[in-house]
Amino acid sequence: MSAAGTKAPSPAPVDQAPEHTGSRGATLVQRLVVVRELGIFAALLLLVLVTVIANPRFLSGQNMRDLLLSASILTVLAAGQTIVIVTRNVDLSVGSVLGLSAYASGTLLANAPGTPVIVVILAGMVVGALCGVLNGAIVAIAKVPSLVVTLGTLYAFRGLDSLWASSSDRLQINAADLPASFKSLGGARLLGIPVLFLIAAAVVLLVGFYLRNYRSGRELYGIGSDPAAARLSGIPVGRRVLVAFAVNGALAGLAGVLYAARFQTLDATAGTGLELNVVAAAVVGGVAIFGGSGSVYGAALGALLLTTIGTSLPQLGLNPFWRDAAVGALILAAIVLDRTLSLRLARRLRGRNLRGS
């Protein structure tokens, strides 16, 4: 017991703590977050610019309105998806939930044409929230990967939807079955801006504000950043994840009602295959697929960008066959850009840890 027996000397004091610089980090980090969203915004502007040069009518009021209208449903879905992705989960069932909610609200209106619009919206959101709660409960209680669970409910909700449609007397609900008051919502404008888009924008602002400024919102980021640490920090992980899924479901339900108002032809296929677009919008918008970072504003910009591509390609005179390819290339470009930026940030943070070399 020689060395341990003699009390080991306490570590010699050193005159200074390791150096860390102060506020430059803050501006750098904030700048990066802004840059991320600015990057997408710049891409969007560039695309619009190119399209306008090729076809000046792109900027016409009608076209802009159409563009915003087209983007609004995807935007609502992307906002909801962001809440879920931030917690290191994903919800692939949103397309099916949208379909279910759209068909439900169509059925409600066809059977009770007098229902006020707000009640229809609430009903759609309730349907969506129920689906979301089911997803969230399985994920949170059984602690199983959400990718698998929602892949399962993607099939199951769609199956329910078409089972419902085929067993009811209305396989397809058409514009003629819907009351005028509801249909007018699809084209309605406020100050020249489509109401559907205003709804989507309100959703984005609300969600964005919540995620940034409320404790439970920040906890969602914490959960996604490190689930084990979240549990040790006393965050009610299961409950938060459940709520995230429920809110996302409710927003998908809302998107379903908007879909009904806009397309007015509702059958069991509404929203099929939408899930990848939604995830793509979020990813393009800088929401990290493994949780913990990204903002709903970015996701909304992503949705707008994807929609703009969809509408501007034909106007650029490009073969419509190029559309999917362009969307794919864009997604890749966005994640590469995002990666490059965050690498640069990491390098600078590391560089500032160590001085002198």
């Binding site: 017991m1 080991a8 860390h20 803050a26 906890e219 980021y221 490190d226 040790l232 920090s233």
Partner: protein, 517 residues
């Protein structure tokens, strides 16, 4: 988190009332009995040490206090009343703050948010008050003497800084009971001193501090009483003043421990490892040194000096920008651990959970991972061959494990470290690099590791040892290389190596001796 300055302590309150007590607590993980009738009693205004070998159940006990695990049997008493802590939030509400053995930070969130997660200061509208958040964070850091930007993300913090953030978090609770599970393992001298100052002021303010460490100097310097645990059971609780290190160690181990630093003197042979002008921009620069067969070379320095980065670059896990590495005269391809292994280098990394082991895989798979190609016949592996090799090495390293087919995550920290060593020694390396080989390891195991290193060197292996523990460096090394801020600043032979020489160089005040070439 307005911390009222601690009232001046009127002397040491040695007999405060009991705030928190564990009584006859047991906890099983599957077939492993982590705790069997453990006991603990914390009083107000005391700093209480919990010591025990690796796997004695210290961390498990902490997690029961923290509400992470529920005990299978036994009672938890808070102010004399029995309570059940179902989750970490409940423990926190009861005034128990915990610094876990492994950092639990959110890499994507800012440092300030990490500290105040779930307790961020609010404005009237229940919104987070960001300004207040940053200023409280800064106040905490001032108290700890840390200079960190509250708004930077936790990602990329060094282990030491991560630990400081954890400490700040625990402090911010203003808790009645502060539990620290090996908080100093990654800290350097100054930081440890600061932590102790804070802990003492908390104690003076009437809080109870539970301190877990494998470093006896710290335990004796800080704590009023010491509880010893062995094999999940309570052994003894006594005032520090009545104990010597020897006694504690004997109680922990239940047997005599051989000399801690059994250095065997060896005549160094050929140069095996040559590092020349190794530079990684922003991390380390112009690092050159040689290691001979039979030599133990220690790489010393303050935490964050870049030692780990150097050995990682040598082993090829990290890239480097310029310089070269030669093994037995042959150039080593850069950036390829496989090439390094083929050349006979082995690296026992500093973070065993992240880097050393695949936690979900079994002990045997981990132990044979580095030898998977050698064990294969015609490209195929046989389960029996793997098992036999694993058994042999587990026996040689005295690994304490339930079954070799259990996940290595079920082993205690020290036994995990032995598996890492086994995994690398089984490759029969010419150069063994060990990064913090005894971090978080109990005395008994530590001595075993040291004897092993010494033995290996005397058998002709070249050993590079990165260590933050001065006694270990001085006791084991033939030569001490000292790094400061990414540069190699000194090369001290065993004859001249003493504490002050190493510390002076490490803090950048030593003479910048030209280093071996």
């Amino acid at each position: 988190m307005d911390h009222a300055p601690a009232p001046p302590a009127p002397g040491r309150p040695t007999t405060g009332s009991v705030v928190l007590a564990l009584d006859d607590v047991s906890k099983n993980f599957g077939a492993v009995a982590a705790l069997r009738g453990a006991r603990l009693e914390l009083r107000t205004g005391e700093a209480h040490a919990l010591v025990g070998e690796n796997g004695a159940g210290k961390s498990t006990l902490v997690k029961i206090l923290a509400g992470v695990h529920g005990p299978d049997s036994g009672r938890l008493l808070l102010d004399g009343r029995e309570v059940t802590l179902d989750n970490p939030a409940a423990a926190r509400a009861a005034g128990i703050a915990v610094i876990y053995q492994e950092p639990t930070l959110f890499p994507d969130l800012s440092v300030a948010e990490n500290i105040f997660m779930g307790r961020q200061p609010l404005t009237g509208g229940r919104r987070i008050d960001r300004k207040e958040l940053a200023s409280r964070c800064r106040a905490l850091f001032d108290r700890l003497g840390v200079r960190l930007d509250p708004d930077r993300p936790a990602r990329g913090l060094s282990i030491a800084d991560q630990q400081m953030v954890e400490i700040a978090k625990a402090l911010s609770f203003d808790a009645r009971v502060l539990v620290m599970d090996e908080p100093t393992a990654a800290l350097s001298g100054v930081e440890v001193e600061r932590l102790f100052t804070v802990a003492r002021s908390l104690r003076a303010g009437g809080a109870a501090v539970l301190f877990i460490s494998h470093r006896f100097d710290e335990v004796f310097a800080l704590c009023d009483r010491i509880t010893v645990m062995r094999d999940g059971q309570w052994v003894s609780t006594d005032p520090t003043a009545d104990l010597t290190v020897d006694q504690v160690v004997r109680r922990m181990v239940g047997r005599e421990v051989a000399s801690l630093f059994p250095k065997i003197d060896v005549e160094p042979g050929e140069v095996v490892l040559e590092v020349r002008g190794l530079t990684r921009l922003g991390v380390f620069a112009d690092v050159s040194f040689d290691v001979r067969a039979g030599e133990i070379v220690a790489l010393a320095g303050l935490v964050g000096a870049g030692r780990s980065e150097v050995v990682r670059a040598v082993f090829g896990v990290d890239a480097y920008d310029s310089g070269s590495v030669r093994v037995s005269g042959a150039d080593l391809r850069k950036g390829s651990p496989a090439a390094a292994m083929a050349a006979g280098i082995a690296l026992v990394p500093e973070d065993r959970r992240q880097q050393g082991l695949v936690m979900e895989l079994s002990v045997e798979r981990n132990a044979t991972l580095t030898r998977r190609w050698k064990l294969a016949r015609f490209g195929l592996l046989s389960a029996r061959g793997e098992r036999a090799t694993a058994e042999e090495w587990a026996a040689r390293m005295h690994v304490k494990a339930g079954k070799l087919s259990d996940p290595v995550s079920t082993l205690s920290g020290g036994n995990q470290q032995k598996v890492v060593l086994a995994k690398w020694l089984s490759t029969d390396p010419r150069v063994l690099i060990v990064d913090e080989p005894t971090r978080g390891i109990d005395v008994g195991t530590k001595a075993e590791v040291h004897r092993l290193l010494s033995q290996l060197a005397s058998d002709g292996m070249a050993v590079v040892m990165v260590s933050s523990e001065l006694p270990e460096v001085l006791g084991m090394a033939d030569r001490v290389l000292v790094m400061h801020e990414g540069r190699l600043v000194d090369d001290i032979p065993r004859s001249r190596a003493d504490e002050s020489a190493v510390m002076l160089a490490a803090t950048g005040q030593g003479g910048t001796t030209a280093v071996a070439s």
